[in-house]
């Protein structure tokens, strides 16, 4: 059973957004969204944010608007995806300040500002457990077809 299902076109769109926004010199973040119930992701949201080579911060007003939009559309954020300048991993800041610090939320980190091939081979995936800890998961648990 997969953690999340998505079309590969969503991955293509995500890499395009991360590259265009980050310009190979800044981190960037997007959120995959889908129907509130279930494990399908069929949309990507690119938040208002500030970023540099070492991190990003999402605009506070955007977060409130986003959550109200999700409520209205009966959708939810399934996974946050952000870039790192070098190898992928989950920093302490990533651990503490995610969009959705609740069980089942996924966090995917893509290395090299997403300028490598459009694959997740070198990406890092973590899931928040019921205890509130981030647990590394296998990329193979994402079902991209």
């Amino acid at each position: 059973m997969s953690l999340l299902r998505a079309d590969t076109n969503l991955l293509d769109e995500t890499f395009e957004l991360l590259r265009r926004c980050g310009e190979h010199r800044r981190e960037c973040v997007v959120y995959w969204t889908g129907p509130a119930d279930g494990d399908l992701a069929d949309g990507v949201q690119h938040p208002d944010h500030q970023a540099n080579a070492l991190g990003y911060e999402v605009d506070t007003r955007w977060i409130t608007r986003f959550f109200l939009e999700l409520r209205q559309e009966r959708r939810s954020a399934k996974m946050q995806i952000h870039t790192h300048p070098g190898p992928a991993g989950h920093s302490e800041t990533d651990d503490r300040f995610s969009l959705v610090p609740a069980a089942g939320f996924l966090s995917l980190v893509i290395p090299n500002f997403a300028y490598g091939p459009v694959t997740l081979n070198d990406a890092f995936l973590a899931e928040m457990s019921r205890d509130g800890d981030w647990t590394q998961r296998s990329i193979a648990e994402l079902e991209l077809a």
């Binding site: 509130a36 070492l54 991190g55 608007r65 409520r71 954020a77 969009l99 610090p101 609740a102």
Partner: protein
């Protein structure tokens, strides 16, 4: 003369990542108490100290005043979210 004490219970709708919970509150209890119930209702175990309740207009409710003083009205929709969302 008999003194009758009444406790008023109202409700608000708290939304978090697209899902709603209707929560009871007493107007004179602290916002922090409602926040704790909201965090429990959504199963938030991590980063609780950096989570807050916001109005739909985006104003963060102070934790240390009563719900009544914070201006919350019965039936109002409140947004549960991190005060800061960032990564690096």
């Amino acid at each position: 003369m008999e003194t009758i004490t009444t406790t008023t219970h109202e409700t608000v709708v708290v939304t978090f990542n697209g899902q709603d919970r209707t929560l009871h509150y007493q107007p004179r209890e602290q916002v922090q108490a409602l926040l704790n119930r909201a965090l429990d209702a959504f199963g938030v175990r991590d980063s609780r100290h950096v989570m807050s309740l916001f109005t739909t207009a985006g104003a963060e409710l102070p934790d240390n005043v009563s719900i009544e003083q914070a201006g919350v009205k019965p039936g109002e929709v409140l947004v549960l979210r991190q005060s800061t969302v960032k990564g690096g």
